[in-house]
């Protein structure tokens, strides 16, 4: 027996809600975007296995250390001795700051230790050694 359909469903997707969906996506990206503040130096960070993600970008401040011992904070080249003042100011503004150290593989430990000392003086004790994950390797 053939039953005739009474209502004919349209087989087209309604596009009237498209702007709403797009706006929703737009708002999501607007809220989550944190603009990159500084360019920094070109460094080749070391590779490691046990790396963790930093909690949030907003509470992170970056220190770049290049091969030749140049240290850059906020796109300004600084002396190691000035680091404690700069970091102290940052800690006052945001006490939960984690310092991310983007140091080149070739940097000597002398530079790193100097940075350690300065950070300790500034009470910026949470440090993250920026590293890349080693791909496809289990312990």
């Amino acid at each position: 027996m053939h039953i005739e359909k009474k209502t004919k469903a349209s087989n087209e997707i309604s596009t009237s809600s498209m702007p709403d969906i797009i706006f929703m996506l737009l708002i999501f990206f607007m809220v989550t975007t944190v603009m990159r503040e500084y360019e920094g130096l070109i460094v080749l960070v070391p590779k490691a296995k046990m790396i963790e993600k930093l909690e949030s970008k907003r509470n992170t401040s970056y220190i770049w250390a290049a091969k030749d011992g140049t240290i850059v904070v906020d796109d300004r080249r600084i002396n190691v001795d000035d680091l404690r003042h700069i970091m102290y100011d940052k800690m006052v503004k945001r006490p939960k700051t984690t310092v991310s150290l983007l140091a080149d593989q070739e940097v000597s430990m002398e530079t790193i230790t100097d940075i350690h000392t300065e950070l300790r003086e500034a009470h910026a004790l949470r440090l993250s050694y920026s590293a890349k994950r080693i791909e496809g390797e289990k312990l």
């Binding site: 990206f29 046990m50 993600k53 430990m109 230790t113 949470r126």
Partner: protein, 141 residues
Amino acid sequence: MYIKPRRGLGSFSSASMADIAFLLLVFFLVTTTISMDKGIQMVLPEPGDTDIEIPKGNISEIFINQTGKVLFNDKPVLIRDIAREAESRINKRGFTPEGEQIMIFSVKPHQDTKYDVYLQVLDQLKIAGAKKISIANPEAF
């Protein structure tokens, strides 16, 4: 010439709204950097010298020289073997009743040691699950 004033609220076409939203969306998609910063996390000690007496048996000393060779408790080891060695040491020394590790690892790099080697050693200790890691100031030993 008399122009008849428009009554009520004027309406604008909302057809291009989606296009404008799309344009903004594409802009934010392009500018967003998803790549979160990753790294090995450490907590530095408070400033000032804090001398705490620790029994010698509870410390493992790791020296790294300027060529990247590692001396683990006066025994030369390969970097990739540090994790295994460290883990057995942690378990041998045991835990406090609070569940804290007793073994402390003291990493002592030479001042000309490359950062890369240092981080690999630190990585190995993290793999072993070491919680108490101290970084000694380098010296020209």
